[in-house]
């Protein structure tokens, strides 16, 4: 649809050199007046109805100027003689860069012009000049500080700072990702920076770490106020295509970071997220290059409303079969331990315990979690734990927790001999050693063990644990009053 320029309106009742006005338009499809909305590239993105009666100044022009959405926008300002100039935004920028009689323009209007033209040197001077017009020194100082900070962080016009402008298009170089991350730190979410970030994150061969970081910035930045709706939609379209492409699931490091970020944002359809997530987990390459991201994705899918329990359990079993030990197994078991009260997970953990190495911390973590879930207190399962306690896993700090749990199920008498034996063979510098000693001290009738405990008290003077143990020793000793008699 074509819109025809009809004039402009001003915020104040008269225009002075450097004043910006709002251009107004008519269209054959309506008898209302419209104002254009521009994007960061000066293009018209929409026309909105404007109520001109709210403006104290109205200017009409007979100049024939037709524009449409997508065209370069129209900018209207008063020149050095207060004559109203109507130009397309790019030409207006050129005119304003070299506006004559600059010093006669109000400093606050100078600011507006500098932000528009991106002239940082003039902007700096304009801020100082504007601060000089504030006749309250304390307020003037604060204003200057606030405005300088805003000028530094100005995001919507990258041309504002020459050094930043020079970055545009330079991200193809070998250190392009570093340059991009540096630019991001300086100016934050900006349409052009996000577009360049998309290229680096999703369509370059930079390092996985750098691409993952850029991808996360792009995804988070795409939701910022300073970013246009067009770029937000562009990022979404790119990410949707990228995530659903079968080949990229092999790009495990970046893929998992991207999926986890958008999953947290909750801006993509749940069902699609679930589909992409399971495709990734089923990809043999992603399984072989397991990362913490893989475990987190599995966890998110398990919590999903679209969960396919059978499919996820099958993925889980395959992962545990391929990674019996190591960091991936540790992470997985750590997660499964938290979910042990869910029946399908409990089954997986019990099966894994049968083949896992009881000498590892993840084995004891899994066993303890199953025991605490309350669904695995059968004789056979408890015996597994008792045997574990008797064997050579005394170095693990989980020993005390498993001991206490089984004591609770079976009663403490059954386990006292195991504890006594453990106290003699375990490293006495372990934190749990005095704890176990205090649990069983009164039940023991073993001179060697009593000596060991008293020796421990002597070698750990002044600690809370030795104090507690000493109390037990005193209580169980001969009644001195009676002895004196």
């Amino acid at each position: 649809m074509t819109y025809k320029l009809s004039g402009a309106v001003g915020l104040r009742d008269r225009v002075e050199p450097g004043s910006f006005l709002i251009p107004i338009f008519t269209t054959s499809a309506s008898n209302r007046l419209f104002a254009q909305q521009l994007d960061e590239n000066d293009k018209i993105v929409s026309f909105k109805i404007i109520e001109v009666s709210n403006f104290p100044f109205e200017y009409q022009t007979a100049r024939a100027l037709d524009v449409e959405i997508g065209d370069i926008g129209i900018v209207c300002f008063a020149n050095e003689n207060s004559t109203i100039i109507i130009q397309d935004a790019r030409s207006a920028r050129e005119l304003l860069r070299s506006m004559p009689n600059w010093e006669t323009i109000s400093p606050f209007r100078q600011l507006d012009i500098c932000y528009f033209t991106g002239d940082s040197a003039k902007l700096k001077r304009a801020i100082s000049a504007a601060a000089g017009t504030i006749k309250n020194p304390a307020v003037s100082r604060t204003w200057k500080k606030v405005e300088r900070t805003a000028a530094k962080r100005r995001r919507s016009s990258p041309e504002l700072f020459v050094e930043l402008a020079s970055l545009r298009g330079s991200f193809d170089s070998i250190d392009g990702h570093d340059r991009w991350l540096s630019a991001w730190k300086s100016i934050g979410p900006t349409d052009w920076l996000i577009r360049d970030g998309v290229k680096l994150a999703f369509y370059s061969d930079k390092s996985i770490g750098a691409r993952a970081r850029i991808a996360v910035h792009v995804l988070e930045g795409a939701r910022a106020k300073s970013v246009s709706a067009e770029v937000t939609a562009y990022v979404k379209a790119v990410v949707t295509n990228w995530l659903s492409s079968a080949s990229v699931t092999e790009d495990t490091g970046v893929w998992s970071r991207v999926w986890l970020t958008i999953n947290q944002q909750q801006t993509y359809p749940d069902r699609e997220l679930y589909k992409w997530g399971t495709s990734f987990l089923l990809n043999p390459r992603s399984r072989s290059q397991s990362t913490s991201g893989r475990v987190k994705i599995w966890e998110a899918l398990w919590d999903s409303v679209h969960r396919n329990t059978e499919e996820l359990i099958s993925i889980l079993r395959a992962d545990l079969s391929e990674h019996r030990t190591g960091s991936h197994a540790r992470r997985l078991i750590g997660l499964l331990a938290e979910l042990a009260d869910e029946a399908p997970i409990s089954d997986v953990l019990r099966d894994w315990l049968a083949v896992g190495d009881p000498g590892t911390s993840q084995w004891s973590t899994a066993y303890l979690a199953l025991l605490r879930s309350g669904q695995n207190n059968d004789q056979k399962f408890v015996e597994i734990g008792k045997n574990w306690l008797k064997n050579d896993e005394g170095k693990l700090k989980k020993w005390a927790e498993i001991y206490e749990e089984i004591s609770y199920i079976r009663g403490k008498d059954e386990l006292i001999p195991i504890a006594a034996e453990w106290l003699l063979r375990a490293n006495k510098e372990m934190k749990v050693w005095p704890k176990i000693a205090s649990l069983v001290y009164n039940e023991l009738d073993d001179a060697e063990l009593r000596r060991a405990i008293e020796n421990w008290i002597d070698t750990h003077p002044g600690t809370d644990e030795s104090w507690e143990l000493q109390l037990l020793v005193n209580q169980s000793g001969p009644d001195e009053d009676v002895a004196d008699l």
Partner: protein, 261 residues
């Protein structure tokens, strides 16, 4: 009035945040009349059918017009920023823009609920409790970055009937609903009081640069009221750009000058 949302906010586990200034937003074309009368007078509210003045806690957010809908970009937002205790007698306190709810700009799951169940007027520290419940800190509140689901669920165990508390959290983390943007969880306070600017002076006044180019306007704000002028350029001709420019400056004021963030 009892409501489950109020009960939720009353829990001991909800730790009130510190306070932020109150922000009254208005179209720039109303500035001259406000400066002339030196007061902010309650105006008839289409939502509650009574004269009210509205404030948002901290955020220079623009209210949805109950009658006409979204503010247009040419209205050019202006704000008066006051000390938190400026409102002595709040009439209503909502965790979001009540006008947006009235206008049907909230997600369906909030729209379906009774508006008055969200009014927590009378609950001590209600605004600080809302922020403390849903945001990790004041900086996150200003940026609209609510606690993520894991964090929120860790902090509070919600019963199945605490639907308002849950719905607000869901809304606070949703980013795709452009209809509610930054007001989806901006604490709103309304009052029937008239704010006399000669007595209750603003901390800052936000307006386009063009207004502060006027010496009389500037003197009223900076000298007579001792308020900080927060000027923003209008040349971008884009509503979102205006908000970004305003937020940058207001955050800088809170962070660097008032040391609130």
């Amino acid at each position: 009035m009892a409501s489950r949302f109020r009960d939720f906010l009353s829990r001991n586990s909800v730790v009130p945040s510190n306070t932020l200034p109150l922000v009254h937003s208005t179209p720039s074309y109303r500035l001259d009349s406000i400066l002339e009368g030196e007061e902010i007078v309650p105006t008839e509210c289409d939502v509650f059918r009574t004269p009210l003045t509205y404030f948002f806690v901290g955020r220079p957010a623009y209210k949805v017009h109950p009658s006409s809908g979204e503010a247009e970009y040419w209205e050019l937002p202006s704000c008066f920023i006051f000390e938190y205790d400026i409102v002595k007698a709040p009439e209503k306190i909502f965790p979001f823009d009540s006008g947006a709810l009235h206008k049907g700009r909230m997600p369906n799951y909030v729209d379906l609920m009774d508006r008055d169940d969200f009014d927590v007027q009378g609950l001590p520290d209600a605004p600080a409790r809302i922020i403390g419940a849903y945001f990790p800190d004041l900086r996150s509140y200003m940026k609209g970055k609510a606690k993520d689901t894991a964090h929120f669920q860790k902090d509070y165990t919600l019963g199945i009937f605490e639907t308002q508390a849950k719905a607000l959290h869901r809304m606070s983390i949703e980013k795709h609903n452009e209809n509610i943007d930054d007001r989806r969880l901006s604490v709103e306070i309304s009052t029937k009081e008239t704010i006399d600017l000669k007595v209750s002076r603003p901390i800052a006044v936000v307006a386009p640069d063009e207004y502060f180019a006027d010496a009389g306007f500037m003197n009223k704000v900076a000298v007579e009221w001792g308020a900080l002028p927060i000027a923003y350029p209008i040349s971008s001709l884009n509503t979102q750009a205006y908000y970004a420019l305003i937020y940058e400056r207001v955050e800088s004021l809170y962070r660097d000058n008032l040391k609130l963030l």
